[in-house]
């Protein structure tokens, strides 16, 4: 299929439709709103339902009903709205229901601002709702990657009967890039035997509720099931891109838009003879530990780069590295990540370590 120019948010929305998504419920919030606007007319064309709900809370809980009915269901939001989605994400996890939730990240806590940011890493990867759960979090760095990851997100969600989060950001959502879209697929709501449809005479009842109550031993074996499920995700779903890490002395760790700048910093650094590399997590959870396992002994330190104040992903770099190397953080709040500042920081680190 030929490439077309599309805005990140719209391309992601189109890709979800082409993956067979026929239900969307959501609420306007910048910088995500184009997804809602796009689906409000486009969903009609493909015979699906797009509902503008009264709140993000209603959006996620309506999605839960549609997901229970076997539909490929999507909701999208940003920053403050993502906080409101947490109740439903916890319920989806506890009920073993697949769905796709997109957070087009912005900056800051409270209202923060509508600008580019990577403010929600902790909420995305730690489970922002109640109870202990994990979710696969896919983090694209280009519009094409938004399309590609959206198209596998539903498959992953159904593979594990679990919600999958996509973490883009304001830059990727708002910019226009050439993309190749996948072919249109239809999804059969009766594909899985857990999906709710009216019970036919003689069939056992299908009940979707707190799954631990389904275990005949009163739920004592449920932890085993959960540990196995999350263990399998950790083992098989790590995704990342490593750039020139074979000989790198300083390895940057950055995702999404920040990783794009980090990549271009590598080219400049290499011209100056600085051995700089990058690990770009594509899954924020499971965090790509295998990428760190592949690193050689020449690595002196890690530099975590994010668009936020506290360096949220730094925690995972330290945990993954196991305190073997120093881990530093370079972040921006209002400004873009700067190649120049990356290089300054890297040179400073090379002197220190």
């Amino acid at each position: 299929m030929a490439k077309v120019l599309m805005k990140g948010n719209e391309a992601l929305a189109e890709s979800c439709l082409r993956a067979g998504c026929r239900f969307f419920s959501g609420y306007p919030i910048t910088p995500q709103t184009e997804i809602l606007e796009y689906l409000c007319w486009r969903m009609d064309e493909v015979g699906g339902d797009c509902v503008q709900t009264e709140s993000e809370l209603a959006g996620i809980n309506m999605l839960m009903g549609a997901a229970a009915g076997g539909a490929r269901a999507l909701t999208t939001t940003a920053g403050p709205g993502f906080s409101l989605k947490q109740e439903g994400i916890s319920y989806l996890c506890g009920s073993d229901l697949p769905a796709v939730i997109v957070d087009v990240q912005r900056i800051g806590c409270a209202l923060g601002d509508i600008f580019m940011g990577q403010g929600d890493y902790w909420q995305l990867t730690r489970g922002g709702g109640h109870g202990d759960y994990r979710t696969i979090v896919l983090a694209p760095a280009t519009v094409q990657e938004s399309v590609d990851l959206a198209s596998i997100a539903f498959d992953l969600a159904e593979k594990y009967r679990h919600p999958v989060l996509i973490a883009t950001d304001a830059t990727i959502g708002q910019m226009i890039e050439p993309v190749e879209l996948p072919e249109m697929k239809e999804h059969d709501p009766d594909k899985y035997d857990w999906a709710l449809r009216p019970r036919r005479e003689g069939e056992p009842q299908r009940a979707i509720w707190n799954r631990y109550w389904d275990w005949e031993d009163g739920g004592h074996k449920y932890p085993e099931y959960i540990l196995k499920k999350y263990g399998e995700m950790e083992e098989t779903e790590q995704r990342w891109e490593s750039v020139l890490t074979e000989d790198a002395e300083i390895v940057m760790v950055a995702y999404g838009t920040s990783a794009r700048v980090a990549k271009s910093a590598i080219m400049k650094a290499r011209k100056e003879g600085i051995k700089l590399g990058l690990i770009r997590p594509i899954t924020l959870w499971p965090f790509p530990k295998k990428a760190f396992d592949e690193l050689g002994d020449q690595v002196k330190a890690f530099l975590d780069i994010e668009r936020n104040i506290l360096g949220q992903m730094k925690d995972d770099v330290i945990l993954t590295d196991g305190n073997r190397h120093p881990v530093e953080f370079y972040g921006e709040y209002w400004d873009n990540i700067s190649e120049v500042k990356i290089l300054e920081k890297v040179k400073e680190m090379l002197k220190k370590y």
Binding site: F23, S25, D49, V51, T53, E54, S55, L57, A58, N61, M62, L63, M64, G65, A66, A67, A68, G69, G70, A71, A73, E87, G88, Y91, S95, P189, L196, R197, P198, R199, R200, E201, Q205, R206, A207, I208, W209, N210
Partner: protein
């Protein structure tokens, strides 16, 4: 008279409601209404958490437990995914009129084609009888120990007044405190299911229902309380009955 257990009532699981509770009666009339209309293979239900959730054990229908207060909007989502099914949401008054009032109102605004049956016992039942929006003025509960004071606690919510002017298919209040009222409840459910089949839109039946445990009365006194007090503040009747689609 010859009484039989409706075939959609599940006798193999245990619905552990208190003696004298109205929930079981509502489930029974739902199954009777469904059977009389021959719709057993078209029903999906959405339960709230708490007392209403036991409906999953009382009835054989395929079902999902929503988050507390999200029953109506989750039911709307299920209907979007399964437009051919007849979807029944069964929240309580605490759920539908307090934490979930936004979704109750907006599901009515969108005229979602579902039936909401609210089991209204004027208290939060499972948590031990706290004041709900439908707690009557002067009524003592665990969180209005001196009786509901409308100056301090806010007005009692009468859903028929809130939704009374909306463009929805059906709005009624029934009760299950006497055989005659229970029979009227069944008729209302049948009417609403017919409307859902016609695609007429949002139907809500507020069912006054006994909670002797939290009202701290006997089972008989609870039935009398519905008649003498609850239904005086929350009158029975049909408030919207829009008729067929044009």
């Amino acid at each position: 008279m010859n009484f039989t257990i409706p075939k959609d009532i599940d006798m193999s699981q245990q619905a552990s409601w208190c003696p004298g509770c109205g929930h079981g009666i509502v489930c029974r009339v739902i199954t009777e209404a469904v059977e009389e209309l021959g719709l057993s293979d078209r029903i999906l239900t959405v339960d709230d958490v708490a007392c209403g959730q036991f409906g999953q054990f009382a009835m054989k229908y395929n079902t999902i437990m929503s988050a507390h207060g999200r029953t109506v909007v989750t039911a709307a989502g299920l209907k979007h995914a399964r437009p051919d099914a007849l979807v029944i949401a069964r929240p309580g008054d605490g759920s539908a009129y307090s934490i979930g009032i936004e979704s109750t109102i907006y599901s009515a605004v969108r005229n979602e084609n579902i039936l909401t049956i609210v089991i209204n016992n004027s208290v939060f039942g499972m948590t031990g009888g706290q004041m709900s929006p439908a707690t009557l003025p002067g009524m003592k509960t665990a969180t209005s120990p001196f009786g509901r004071d409308e100056n301090k606690d806010g007005h009692m919510v009468d859903i028929t007044k809130l939704l009374g002017q909306m463009d929805i298919a059906y709005l009624a209040r029934c009760a299950v405190n006497t055989p005659a009222n229970t029979d009227r409840t069944k008729k209302a459910i049948k009417k609403a299911l017919q409307k859902q089949m016609n695609g007429e839109g949002f139907c809500l039946i507020d069912v006054l229902s006994m909670c002797p445990t939290n009202w701290k009365t006997s089972e008989i006194q609870a039935c009398e309380f519905v008649k003498e007090t609850q239904s005086k503040y929350l009158p029975l009747g049909e408030f919207i009955d829009k008729g067929g689609k044009e």
